[in-house]
């Protein structure tokens, strides 16, 4: 596919070596990895055991002597553990470097930040691109269908391995927020504060619908090879790119699209009367699709979207969301964004309502933004201020000192 791109000049095009670099990250990630041996299987919701399995993760800052300053960061659908460092495949800045780092709202001079690649991912944690020990080939569709709760179980193993009993905080947006909710529901005594952002306790029909479109696009690509594309030396790049293009629209607001692109033409004065990317928005989406396939595994995309579709914390707790949080002592801070129509304020307030029903400590802020669902990843000063204030106050309550002076 020829890509016509000039809007986001900071983006790097799909260089030929990146596919190899990406596959290398599956087997030999540039992050630390914990390998859990076959003798320590992970029991999954589908009633299968996954063994052995690995969790790749990044850390920032220093764990204090009392192990009381750890913050677990949960990434979204297509994120990974490289939250605050240059990405080993794309060379781009970490996806939340605006929020996390020395002197940032989540100050790594004060807190110890852990960000694992989720189970089912493709950056070093076990997923469908990993080798199936029974066959010596990539799992492909032999990988079991996993859930958000399974991802959390794998993270719990990592946190245990790091010797941390209670997390000072757990934070994440979108799917990351689902993991936060699952942690807060299942491991109440291990979560001091929880910050679910732009998320939902149950995945809506509309969101399942968008995911299904994405999965069908991947599976319609002949190079998908019924999931066996790695061993066949192929790559369902067109299908995955289309999936990403469709999904990307859901991350933006109508206003943001109109303001940024309008009906602007791409590198031309007039319509071409062809199916080229005449419009800037077409070019933009094609670019988003093409760069995505360089860093993401198509089967991972299928499995992770499925896990999100299956997420229904309300159903997990007898049809009453409040039951999920009964007896919680965790302090919650929930954030939504006005123009987010994928995980709208309404969905976030359902969580607030459930927490209020069990008299939990919960704060909620809706941030005014035109950036749609993507807002949680972008420069949103009001959001950063809220996070800074929340973490300062919570750290004081928890008896954590001020930020260490850096030498």
């Amino acid at each position: 596919m020829s890509v016509n791109w000039s809007i986001a000049a900071e983006g790097q095009g799909g260089s030929p070596g990146t596919a190899d670099a990406r596959l290398n990250e599956v087997h030999n990630p540039s992050s630390p990895v914990v390998h859990f041996p076959a003798s320590e299987p992970l029991r999954l919701d589908c009633e299968q055991d996954l063994a052995p399995f690995s969790v790749a993760y990044q850390t920032y800052g220093t764990l204090n002597a009392g192990k009381s300053n750890a913050i677990l960061v949960c990434h979204a659908l297509t994120g990974d553990q490289h939250v605050a460092n240059k990405h080993p495949v794309t060379g781009k800045d970490g996806w939340w470097e605006t929020l996390i780092g020395p002197g940032k709202p989540i100050d790594t001079n004060r807190f110890f930040v852990i960000c694992p690649n989720i189970l089912g991912g493709c950056m070093g944690s076990t997923g469908p691109a990993s080798l199936n020990p029974r066959t010596g080939k990539p799992y492909g569709l032999d990988f079991p269908v996993i859930t958000i709760r399974d991802m959390v179980r794998a993270q719990v193993r990592l946190v245990d391995h790091l010797g941390i009993r209670e997390l000072f905080s757990i934070i994440g947006g979108s799917m990351g927020g689902m993991l936060v909710l699952e942690w807060a529901a299942e491991y109440k005594d291990r979560v001091y504060t929880a910050v679910p952002i732009a998320t939902a306790a149950t995945h809506s029909a509309q969101n399942i619908a968008f995911h299904e479109v994405g999965r069908q696009a991947v599976m319609a690509d002949p190079d998908w090879c019924e999931g066996k594309y790695i061993e066949r030396g192929k790559r369902p790049a067109r299908g995955l790119a289309v999936a990403r293009m469709a999904a990307h629209i859901t991350y933006l607001s109508e206003k943001a699209l109109q303001d940024k692109f309008g009906r602007g033409l791409q590198d031309r004065q007039a319509r071409s009367f062809s199916f080229d990317a005449d419009f800037k928005i077409e070019s933009y989406l094609r670019y988003q699709g093409s760069t995505f396939v360089d860093r993401f595994d198509a089967n991972s995309y299928l499995y992770i979207t499925r896990a999100m579709d299956y997420f229904d914390l309300e159903a997990e707790h007898g049809g009453k969301l409040a039951n999920a949080f009964h007896g919680t002592r965790t302090q919650f801070c929930i954030v939504s964004f006005t123009s987010d129509w994928l995980y709208p304020t309404r969905d976030n307030k359902q969580i607030v309502k459930a927490l209020n029903a069990v008299a939990a400590n919960v704060s909620f802020v809706e941030i005014e933004s035109d950036n749609g669902h993507d807002a949680f990843l972008l420069d949103e000063p009001e959001f950063f201020d809220t996070m800074r204030g929340f973490y300062n106050a919570a750290a004081l309550k928890r008896g954590l000192g001020p930020a260490r002076e850096q030498a």
Binding site: K353, N356, A359, N361, V362, S363, V365, E382
Partner: protein, 220 residues
């Protein structure tokens, strides 16, 4: 009486607490569960936490103020009295507080009803439209009154439902509640003598704080 209270907590905002906040703080039992509806920057919640060790929650409509509350370690949700009280379960709190806000709600009756549902008791303060200066201004100038307690012109005020102390007592009856305590006071926090009749409170109180509870059903 408020002179006997310990000094106001150093909460970073102001050294002195608001007069109606001090009156409300006197009405609250120590260690109780409290929700402050329209909690602003959290001054009352901080006062109640410092002096009465309450377990406090807040609702506030302005995002900036919610942010300030969160930075003070308070649990406050962005919302408003008209829409968000319905989401709380019955009797979730010992006190549901609405200070100087009821006159700005769309449906004061529903709001008061909800306060009495989610709290075992409700504490409500409001500017008294029956104050003699308000009456005099309306009578003598023929224009909407502007006083210390009602500082904004009619076209700029968020207040949609002004009431007098007598009007409020009427609403209390209408929602099947009873007055446990009522204090009328001046804008400077000077309270009227306890024994003053309702008519005189209505004439001389610039603001009022009421502590309310649902009327107990009589056993037949």
């Amino acid at each position: 009486m408020q002179k006997d209270l310990p000094p106001a907590p150093s909460n970073g905002s102001s050294g002195t607490a608001r007069a109606d906040h001090l009156l409300i703080a006197e009405m609250v039992e120590p260690g109780s569960r409290v929700i402050d509806v329209g909690c602003g920057d959290g001054a009352l919640l901080q006062l109640l936490a410092a002096r009465k060790a309450v377990d406090g929650r807040g609702i506030e409509i302005a995002p900036d103020r919610v942010k300030a509350c969160v930075a003070h370690g308070l649990s406050v949700i962005m919302g408003d009295a008209d829409r968000d009280l319905v989401d709380y379960p019955d009797q979730a709190f010992d006190y549901a507080i609405l200070s100087l806000t009821i006159q700005a709600t769309h449906e004061p009756r529903t709001v008061l009803d909800n306060l009495l549902r989610i709290g075992r008791q409700a504490i409500v303060s409001f500017p008294n439209f029956g104050h003699w200066r308000v009456r005099a201004q309306l009578l003598l100038t023929g224009r909407m009154p502007m006083t210390e307690a009602l500082p904004e012109p009619w076209y700029a005020t968020p207040d949609a439902h002004h009431c007098t102390i007598k009007d409020f007592v009427g609403l209390v009856r209408l929602v099947d509640a009873e007055v446990a305590e009522a204090v009328a006071f001046s804008s400077k926090g000077q309270r009227l003598p306890i024994k003053t009749s309702l008519s005189l409170q209505n004439l001389f109180g610039e603001k009022a704080v009421f502590r309310l509870a649902r009327r107990k059903r009589r056993v037949q």
